[in-house]
Amino acid sequence: MSGAFFAVDNIGIRFGGVVAVDGVSFSVDKGECFTIIGPNGAGKTTIFNLIGLIYPATSGTITFEGKVLNGLPPHRVAAQGIARTFQNIELFEHASVLQNLLIGRHRHRRTGLWEELLFLPSVRRAEIEMREAVEEVIEFLDLAKYRDSVVAGLPYGVRKVVELARALATKPKLLLLDEPSSGLNPEETDDMAFWIEDIKKVLGITVLMVEHDMNLVSRVSDRVLALNEGKPIAEGTPAEVQSHPAVVEAYLGGAEQVS
């Protein structure tokens, strides 16, 4: 799997006696959108947590641009250029949208503690640079009118977008989206699809996604991996995977046929 932009090789984790993820391997090419699907409990978010090094994998390796990620502390993952969103929105509730995005720029910070204590001109310049970078993201995702609002009061759809914006603010090379359309109405899901396409084509960011909404998956993804109970069951283009018998059985129980 060497040479691939991002690769996961035979990764697995067990929590006590429960094997949540068992021998999953896939690779993601630069610039593509790779989606992982599967019924609830299949281990999709767990894989994201493994990649983000929140849980240590009990087996397998994770490689990004040729570098092995296993064993790094979670905060070093962002430095590598990987960003993620969370299924249950983990925003900084008592801060404004702008501050949330600015924290996203954290890995690009160049100033040290003493400079900040005295607020030297170098810090001021760095602040302005960060703000300019963050403004690009705000413009990209149409968040201008929420810029100074405290996150805690915002509607759910907007918070999902802020979550995406914060991940983009880190200027990642690989973006992990955990169920980006969950909880969104059709219009918002449409917007999300456009944005993911723009992220891929305009910003050139590789996207690794977990998703349930099959329309979104077919629209946006280049390749799909289906999981069930922690194991891979099918991989290919969206059309191939959706009609794969094992996938159908996992979702529908095998009794009916999807025509």
Binding site: G52, I54, P73, P74, H75, R76, V77, A78, A79, A83, R84, F86, E90, L91, F92, E93, H94, A95, Q99, L102, I103, G104, R105, H106, R107, R109, T111, L113, E116, L117, L118, F119, V123, R124, A126, E127, I128, M130, R131, E132, A152, R166, T170
Partner: protein
Amino acid sequence: MRFIFKTSYEQDIRLFKHGGQVFWYALLALLLVSAPWWTSEYVMSQLQFILIYAIVGFGLMMLVGFTGQISLGHAAFLAVGAYTEALMQAAGVPFVVSISCSALFAGVVGIIVGLPALRLKGIYLAIATIAFNVIIEEIVTRWDSLTGGNSGKHLKAIDLFGWKMESDGQFFAVCLVLAVLACLACVNLLRSPTGRAFVAIRDSEISASCMGVNLAWYKTLAFAFSAALTGVAGALYAHKVSFISPEQFTLLVSIELVTIVILGGVGFLHGAVLGSAFLIVLPQLISIAKDYLPAGLAPSGLQAVVFGSVLVAFIIFEPLGLYGRWLKVRTWFELFPFYRRGMFRRQRTYTKSERLR
């Protein structure tokens, strides 16, 4: 009503958001700087205390209000600062050096106390800080060759480059300068990436670390910074009371320090000053009230009753503290007559298990 039309990033970064703020803070500065000339000796003494506790308040606010860590043991840092200053002054060390050492040693102890914070949250962290407080207090008491144990230590007036600060006004000036510097340090941190990292840790540790915030580094930094500020306050406190002993740094004192933050308003730097002022003024009011107590009720318990009741009342009725109340009042005037009652009301939450935070 004031609308601020922003045209540059500078405006967001600046300390004062608009001319009105500059005016009021300048007025406050003028009042404070001239205070030695127009206040009575008693008021001056109280003001000194308020400034000293405000510095502790700033430190504690940064830790509790902005980084979301709990410390019920800050009196330990106060003690470290106070005793360092006492010992160094006795050894003839100049004031500028001794107070820097107070900050430094307190900061180091802060790092040590902060070590459990890397793995503990909530009540466990609180208990760990309590444990540290008790242990440090005991160490200070037992190590009497160094600290004088229960017989305490005396201090002389501050000697700044040969200029003896004997008068109240001079000591007040020192306190004021240090308080302003402490405030500036906090404000500067808060508007730069470090401050944002603190807030991130407070609100969601997991996503903070996914954004690249090194939790261990920033938590330790928060503790160290908070402890260093408290150490400076401790040194000033030592000079103020000119006699220190271990009983002045017990767990009860730690609790009082935390109430500064809570009464003032968690999450607002102004709260540190307001809370400190309130804490100093309250006992005066209680003393006055004692005269009105019905006969038969011993007045000695009144302090505790009032203190406890005020704490409980604030938490129930004014969770945003004194500064929160001020914000509401100001907003009422600004939006008059459009102020709506529910504007600052927190969303109703159900207690979810803290273990799953």
